[in-house]
Structures are given as C-alpha cells and as structure tokens.
C-alpha cells in the first residue's frame, strides 16, 4: 500500500516521527470531578485533587479511559488487558503535585497504524503507531512580560485534563506527508468525538522527531542526529519547521559530518515568525523523571467485553466513510475525500441534500463550489450555515428542472445567504419566474427576426452562432434558460428550411 512521495530533488530521505498530545473530550478531568471546559476564568475549575493539596487522592475517570480506548482502536492499536499508572516526577509551577500521572512501561495500547492517502495520488503512507497512552495534562504558565515585570501566572484549570499521547513510528518521509498525516489523525479523532483537536486552545499539540538518511556514493547511508522539534502551533508550522530542519541538518552534515549516535538527541524550538528552529539549552532537555508506579491508583484491567462495547459505539471512521460515500452517491474518490475531510456534520448535510435532490454529483458540486467556499470566506462551520439542506435541495431541484440556469441559481443562493429569506421569497422578489414554452418560443421568434445574420450562419451550418442570441434573450427576460434559448432558436431556424 505504501507509496513514496514523488521523488524530490533532495539528495536525502527525510525521516520523521511524530508525538501528538490530544485532550480528550470529557466533561470532567481524568482524576477528579472538575470541569474541563475551555476558557473559564483562571483557577476556577480546580479542587484539592487537581491542585495537588496534601492528602488529596486521584480516582480514575472511567469515561476518559473508554474514550482513550476508542482513540486507540481507531488507530488500530492493541489494547492491553492490564495497564497501570506511573508517576513522572519533575518540578514545574504548573505541575502542582511535582509529578504527572502518566503511563510508562505498560501503556494501555500499542502497535497500531494510521494510513494517509493523498487524494491527488502523490503519496500514500501507512504510519506505524508505537503506543498510545493516557496521562493528565499540566496547568498553564502564562508568562506576562507586560510592563517589564516578567511575572509568570499559573492557571490550573487545565491541570488534570485527560490527555492521550500518540507516538508514531518514524515512518513519515516528507514534511508534506507529516502534515497530511496530522490532518488525517485530527479528522479521525474529531469524527469519533474523542477530541476537538483545537490547536489554538491547546487540545492538540505536536512534537516532531526528524533526521536525514543520506546515501553515500559507496552505497552506505549516513544518518544525521535526531532532532526533536517543539513549539509548533499549527500543522502548517509543522510542515514549515520540518522543511527548515531537514535543510538545516543537511547543511550541518555537509559542514561537520555529524552522525546519529555520536551526539545526544537535541531539542530545538520552532520560531514561527523567524521561520527557523533554534537549539534549546541542554538543561531543558535532559531529565530523569524517576518513573514509578503510582501507589494511589490501582492497575486497570480491560476485558474483551469492554473493548467490544467501545467498538460498537465507534461509528464509521473517515476511511470507511470515504468509500461508502463514493459508492452510495456515485461521486469520485476525490469528491468523497473533500467532503469527508470537512467533518461528520458536513457529510450529514451533504447526504441530506443528495437524498432530497436524488443525486450525489450535483449536490457534491454545490457543496464544494458554493457551500464550502462560503464557509471558508466566513470562517464558519456547517452547523452555523444559514441555508439548511432542504432549502439548498429545493434550489438545486429547480435548477435541474430548468426553472432557471445554474448562474441564476447562484445569484439566488447568494441572495438567500445575504438576506436570510427563503428561496421562494428571493425568487419572487427578484421577479424570477419560470419561463413557459410559449413565452420562450415567442421571444426566440422575435430575436430571429431581428438577427438575420445569425439565422443565415446557423443555416449555413454554424450552429454555435445561435449562442450569440443568448445575451439578447437574457436582456429581454433575465429568467430564460440559456441552453433552452439556444436550442429553441436552432430548432426554429431548422424549421424554417
């Protein structure tokens, strides 16, 4: 299945592995009952447990665990029948207990994969997943450098939010693939309701490990030291940072010849405005977390029945949906991909419209050309889109019936969108009415009488000359269907013979 990206001009292969943290969409935190809602005033969603007050004890949130299993199953992972919690010890002000409850040597799931297929066929890549584990999030340190005080403020609302860490194999081979894979991962997790994957709100975070494999003339391969890149705030930054880093590593290798294994793994931070990665101080990267099993929590056993129950509640993942959508509605794989990639709500909207119209292709075209463009312009999602499926289906149906042409339909679409009125209202107010056959024939006769040259041209075999009448017809009656005008004119001229 795996097909490499189109050969590039680079004299090396870029080897990339990703570490993705996603916050699970639970109502409450992983080990206490506090809300996980984003955006509350600082330190208002806290309790003795997530504040790490003396004597407080964690209790596992079973819903969070079930949601994590859902994510792992969707990533084709093996679910461990026995898993436990470990403490990862380090000091930081946004980590109130001085340790993070995480999973070390017995993660709840491992050995999965997620495939990404470029819809344009440029590449397909099945990326192995080493492990998925569950842990609690830390709080947020807000470095307030206003007024030169350089205070750091701590918000512990996020502390204890359930977080899944997904670690991929180093199977990605280009920054573009990495970005596409992240898109696919995000889509999957959003489809399953596991996470909202909102990078702005920090519910999805990515670190990347990258190095180069450089073939030497003698057939051996030089491997550059692995660098971990942090601080990337969007998938676009991931792609840019990896592109930059690959080029930087190649330059460095040419200059120094430094190879993997001879230097410790380096951590570099992505500086988005400057477009460069910068080395972080050695101190920041070397840690001994002194993992050990958390004695406050009991190990978790997972039964086949639990796994089956989660599986039963999964719904169709995007890969399955793409195939089924293309098959059901007879649309191309490319179209299905575009629609599915917009999320489950848009697919539901599409299917509603397509069902009412009775055809997939035309509904898909309207969605892609009109609805999606509008959503992009407005920065909105489909659930906030004012034209509901029945209204769009009605409009498309009238175009298909020939009541008016597509471009007239688009005008109506725009007007409905702008005014918030119904399709009927807009049609009426624009004076749009279906043009009857008799009316059309009368109009065409009038045009032919006024345009003998065109008549002669058509009679002379240049049928396309009839198109010259469409503009004039529209001037006289904006509601006429251009195709019908043309055909009627041609028919009338032929009848003159």
């Amino acid at each position: 299945m795996t097909k490499p990206a189109a050969p590039t001009s680079e004299p090396y292969t870029t080897v990339i592995g990703l570490e993705v943290h996603v916050q699970l969409q639970t109502k409450t935190k992983l080990f206490c009952g506090c809300s996980t809602a984003f955006g509350a005033p600082p330190n208002t969603q806290v309790c003795p447990v997530c504040l790490g007050l003396p004597g407080s004890l964690p209790v596992m949130n079973r819903e969070a665990f079930a949601l994590a299993i859902k994510a792992a199953l969707a990533l084709n992972c093996r679910i461990a029948s026995f898993t436990k919690w470990d403490r990862k010890n380090y000091f930081y002000p946004d980590l109130p207990k001085g340790y993070q409850i995480s999973q070390f040597d017995l993660p709840f799931s491992s050995d999965g994969w997620l495939e990404v297929v470029d819809p344009k066929g440029a590449f397909s890549r099945k990326v192995g997943i080493i492990r998925v584990h569950l842990e609690e999030d830390a709080g947020k340190s807000m470095h307030d450098e206003a007024a030169g005080t350089a205070d750091t403020r701590i918000d512990l609302n996020r502390a204890g939010t359930p977080l899944c860490e997904i670690v991929s194999q180093p199977d990605l081979r280009s920054p573009q693939e990495a970005r596409a894979w992240l898109n696919e991962l995000k889509l999957l997790l959003v489809y399953l309701g596991v996470s909202d994957c909102n990078m702005q709100e920090g519910s999805l975070r990515v670190d990347a490990n990258v190095n180069l494999h450089i073939p030497r003339p003698d057939g051996s391969v030089a491997k550059t030291p692995i660098v971990e890149i942090k601080n990337m705030n969007s998938f676009r930054s991931v792609e840019r940072a990896l592109t930059y880093e690959a080029a930087r590593q190649y330059d460095e290798w040419q200059a120094t010849g430094a190879e993997l294994g001879k230097t410790p793994k380096q951590t570099r931070g992505w500086d988005d405005p400057a477009g460069v990665t910068r080395a972080q101080r050695h101190k920041e990267e070397s840690s001994d977390y002194r993992y050990f099993p958390d004695p406050d929590l009991v190990p978790v056993t997972v039964s086949e029945q639990q796994i089956a129950a989660v599986k039963a509640s999964m719904g169709e993942p995007p890969t399955v949906l793409r195939t089924s959508l293309a098959g059901t509605w007879k649309i191309s794989a490319y179209d299905a991909d575009v629609l599915v990639n917009q999320g489950r709500e848009l697919v539901a909207y599409f299917e509603d419209v397509a069902t009412r119209v009775g055809e997939g292709k035309v509904a898909s075209n309207w969605l892609q050309q009109d609805v999606l463009r509008t959503l992009n312009e407005r920065g909105e999602t489909i659930d906030a889109f004012p034209i509901r499926p029945e209204a769009l289906a009605d409009l498309i149906g009238r175009v298909q019936k020939g009541d008016f042409d597509t471009s007239r339909g688009r005008e109506i679409f725009a007007e409905v969108l702008a005014s918030g009125r119904t399709v009927d209202d807009v049609v009426a107010s624009l004076g749009i009415a279906a043009v009857g056959d008799d009316e059309l024939i009368a109009l065409c006769r009038e045009l032919l009488a006024a345009n003998p040259k065109i008549v002669a041209d058509v009679q002379g075999g240049k049928e396309q000359a009839a198109a010259g009448l469409i503009g004039q017809a529209k001037k006289k009656n904006p509601n006429v269907n251009p195709a019908k005008v043309r055909q009627t004119c041609v028919d009338l001229i032929k009848a003159m013979d």
Partner: protein, 509 residues
C-alpha cells in the same frame, strides 16, 4: 464522675444516658491538656473553642431529643497528618506551618458525622518520618511514663495524649509501625488496620502504599468503638477496601479457645531487651491460659523488612513530598537574592556558594531547604537516588520483589496460625536524644513492625507488662487481611485477664 478515668465506651454511654454532658466531658479533658501538655507537648493545636462549641451543640441536640451519632460527645485527638478543615494541618513541619486545608480527611469527616468532638491536633515526627517524635519541627513529645524519654513515633503525640489521659481516644497513622510502636512505648492500645480498611483521603501522604490510619486508645474495646466509625469504603480513595465493616464491638465476646498464635523465633534474636522478652513471654502464657495454642513459625524474609521498607517508603515519599515547592501553599523562601546565593547555613556544608539555574529553581531549593527537617531531607534524598535512572532496578524494583516475598511469608504463615504474636519494639522507651545521632539505630526501632505494612495486613499493640524502671512493655499481634475482629477480640480477651492497660503514669497524675 471523673471523665479522664472512664473508657471511651463508658464516656459514650454516660453521655447518652445523661450521666454527664458532652461539655462537661470535653472540659475535663481540655483542663487536663491545659495542665499537662506544657510538659508533654503532645498537641500542636488545642481547639478549646471549637471542641466546646461542638460539645454544646451535641448537648443541645440530645436535650431536644434529636438523634445522636455513635460517638456523641467523645473527645478525639487527631494526628496532625490528617487534614482538618477548621484547624491547621502541619505534619509537624515548618513546610506546612500555617496551612489550613479546605477539607476534612475522610476519617475526620466520619468522626464529625458520628458526633465525636475533635479536641486538637497531635504532635508527630515531621511528615510521619521517625520513631521517636524527635523529628517534629515543633519540639519532641515527652513520654508520660518518664518525661526524659521518647514516646516513640511517629504518632507520639497521639500515644502520649492517651497515656496521659488528655484524650480518651486518638487517631494515628502507621506507615512502618507509627501507631503500634508509640502505643507500645506509652502503654496504650493501638491498631493498624489492614491496608485500605480506613480511607487515606486527607491523610497527608508519606508512603502511599504503606500508610494506614488507625485508632489509639486505652483498650481494644475502645479501639473497636472508634474503628467502627472510621473504617469503610471511600469511593474517593482508589485503594480503599470495599468489604463491609463489621460491628467490631459486637465481636469481642467470643472466647479464644482453639486460637492458634504464631511465634517467630527470629524475634528473639540479639538486641531484644530481657525485660521486654519477659513481658512478651508472659503475654504468650496469658493467651495459652485463655485457650490459645502457641506455634513457632517462620517468616523467612522478615529480616529484609527494614531495608525493604527503607527503600519503598523513601521512594514514595520523595515523590509525595515533591508538591511542597513553595509555589502554591506552605512555606516559601523570601524572594531570591539573584541567581547566586549562599546555601542555608547550619544544615548542610555551610558557606559554600550554590549556583541556581533560575530564580524559580532558587525559590524551590531554598523553600525546601528551609521548610524540611533533616530526616525528611534524608529520606527525600534516599528515595530520589533509589528511583534514579540506573539505580531503579537495583533498589526500588528489587525492594518490590522482596516485598512480594514478605507478603507471601505472611500468607503462608496464616495458613498455619490465626495470628502472629511478639514484641512490638526491642526495647522500652529510650531516652530523648539517645538515638538522634544515629539514623540507622533509629531505623531499627521499626524492626518488628515494618513487615506488617509491607504485607498490607493488620497489627495491634498493647501493654503486656512493665520494666522494673516502670516503663511499659508492648506486645504485638498481627493478623491476616481484614482480621481486625480477631485482633481486637484477642486483645480484648487479654485485657479482661490482665490490668496492664489500666495502669496510669504516676509522674503526671
């Protein structure tokens, strides 16, 4: 009626029958505290006002004919390791000086719900680390039997306040012997229940897999009364047991005929004080006279108990105590004097300048340096070292393996016998200052008690005699998981046949 001379069972009955009011009872004990605690230092906080208010409310409810809880009016002293909403909770550490938790420990909440009267918070070894109470940041507790001697620890304040009749009942916690050893050295009865029998929620953690809260009182019957209230499943403590709580006080009556008590010959090794040995032997004879049979058994890995304990407990402690960083609550060092600062003088190699990575790291280092005492620092260092990369397998992982062997020893032993008896400590109460210069000697005071915690089972200690010098000698019984009814029954039977537990220290009478 003199409340200080009554047992907890009698106090509760007297108040319920109206022979005494809760206020009278509470006042009597508060008066004793006021009179005696200056020389004993068992309390870090005496809550006179709060206790009297609670007692008055109980009396008013009784007068109004409203229902009362099972411990109505019973004064209870609580070890300062348990969180109390309206009272400071310091763990006898400067690190937590002034800390007031916003919640009650589960045990405290259950006591309040049962209408007990919380009279104060008792002194202890800092963060429950120690066996003499000399590690308190607020001064050592004196043993009521000899004020020049240690009461044992870490629940030394709880043991001493009961021994001096300043409270009929106290709550302690036991991680490696911290209830049983001071109970033994102070001549009272102390029960460490099975791990998980009493919720740990709100108990400031020392070593989470070993910590257990339990009652300390004059007698097994009084311990049974209190355990009925504080035991039980707590859905907010994942390690708390779900088994039903029996009516311990109803299970005391049965005779001991046929009971098999194991004796571990190794407990009679070198170092066991002859007077302690004599007391222990006599106790075995009492049990035999009561119908029990004594059987020599082996706990082959018991000898590794202390080293195993002194790896597991410090490892967990090093992590449990990481939260005391000065950032969120508790002691915080004054703002940094820049990145370069003198290390705290006195404690460590003085005078050497220390390089800090950042003002934040400096704040951490100095807050912890100032807030923690020597023994706490020692154990944090031990635990941090033993969990570090490259040492984990040799120390922590190996200790866990030995712990499993010790647990198996107990399982095997309880196939053969019902309970295991023996000394609770090798010597009677030692002099204050006697062992403070030798941490290893101090660690050996836990010799007979740590294995109970490592195995997760229960143990009880009670007085079984006195030395010629007038110091109590303690006896320990250990039982299988959830054998509290049997531990209490055997001890109660012993106490019906002897009067050691009724003796009072003369010095402070």
């Amino acid at each position: 009626m003199q409340p200080a001379e009554l047992s907890a069972v009698e106090i509760v009955a007297a108040i319920r029958q109206g022979d005494m009011t809760a206020v009278q009872c509470t006042e009597a004990f508060l008066d004793r505290m006021a009179r005696l605690d200056g020389s004993i230092n068992a309390f870090l906080k005496i809550d006179r006002e709060g206790a009297l208010a609670t007692a008055a409310a109980i009396d008013a409810r009784r007068k109004a004919g409203k229902p009362l809880g099972p411990l109505a009016g019973l004064p209870v002293a609580v070890k300062d390791a348990l969180c109390t909403r309206d009272l400071p909770t310091t763990c006898a550490s400067k690190m937590l000086a002034g800390f007031r938790p916003p919640y009650d420990a589960d045990t405290v909440a259950r006591l309040r719900a049962a209408d007990a009267v919380i009279v104060g918070k008792t002194n202890m070894d800092e963060f429950a680390m120690g066996g003499s109470n000399e590690n308190s940041a607020f001064g050592p507790v004196k043993n009521p039997w000899d004020l020049a001697r240690a009461p044992g620890g870490s629940s030394g304040g709880s043991a001493a306040c009961v021994a001096a009749d300043m409270a009929p009942v106290a709550i302690g916690s036991d991680t490696g012997g911290s209830i049983r050893q001071p109970a033994g050295l102070c001549g009272i009865t102390g029960l460490k229940p099975t791990y998980g029998r009493v919720s740990r929620r709100g108990l400031v953690a020392f070593a989470s897999s070993l910590d257990q809260i339990g009652p300390m009182a004059r007698s097994a019957a009084d311990c049974a009364l209190v355990l009925e209230t504080i035991a039980g499943h707590d859905p907010l403590d994942s390690t708390s047991l779900t088994a039903d709580v029996p009516r311990y006080t109803d299970l005391l009556e049965q005779p001991l005929t046929g009971l098999k008590i194991g004796r571990v010959p190794e407990h009679y090794a070198e170092g066991l004080d002859p007077e302690v040995r004599k007391g222990v032997d006599e106790a075995f004879a009492v049990f035999e006279a009561a119908g029990a049979t004594i059987h020599d058994i082996e706990l082959p890995h018991a000898k590794y108990g202390v080293p195993t304990y002194y790896l597991i407990a410090p490892c967990e402690a090093s992590s449990n105590l990481a939260r005391y960083d000065g950032a969120h609550y508790g002691h915080r060092a004054e703002p940094g004097r820049g990145h370069r600062a003198e290390s705290a003088k006195g404690d460590q190699a003085g005078g050497e300048s220390q390089q800090f990575d950042s003002p934040l790291v400096e704040m951490y280092c100095r807050s912890r340096g100032e807030g923690f005492g020597q023994e706490v620092k020692r154990r944090i260092m031990l635990g941090t070292y033993a969990l570090s990369a490259g040492y984990y397998d040799a120390y922590y992982a190996k200790a866990l393996k030995v712990r499993r062997l010790i647990r198996q020893d107990y399982l095997d032993a309880f196939e053969k016998v019902d309970l295991i008896g023996g000394p609770v400590s090798a010597t009677p109460a030692f002099k204050l200052g006697e062992k403070t210069g030798d941490p290893l000697a101090m660690y050996l005071v836990d010799l007979y008690t740590v294995a109970t915690n490592l195995a997760g089972v229960g143990g009880i200690s009670f007085p079984c005699g006195f030395t010629k010098g007038g110091l109590p000698v303690g006896f320990q019984l250990q039982g299988p998981a959830l054998a509290e009814p049997l531990l209490l029954r055997a001890t109660d039977r012993f106490q019906r046949l002897t009067d050691w537990h009724l003796r009072r220290p003369k010095q402070i009478a």
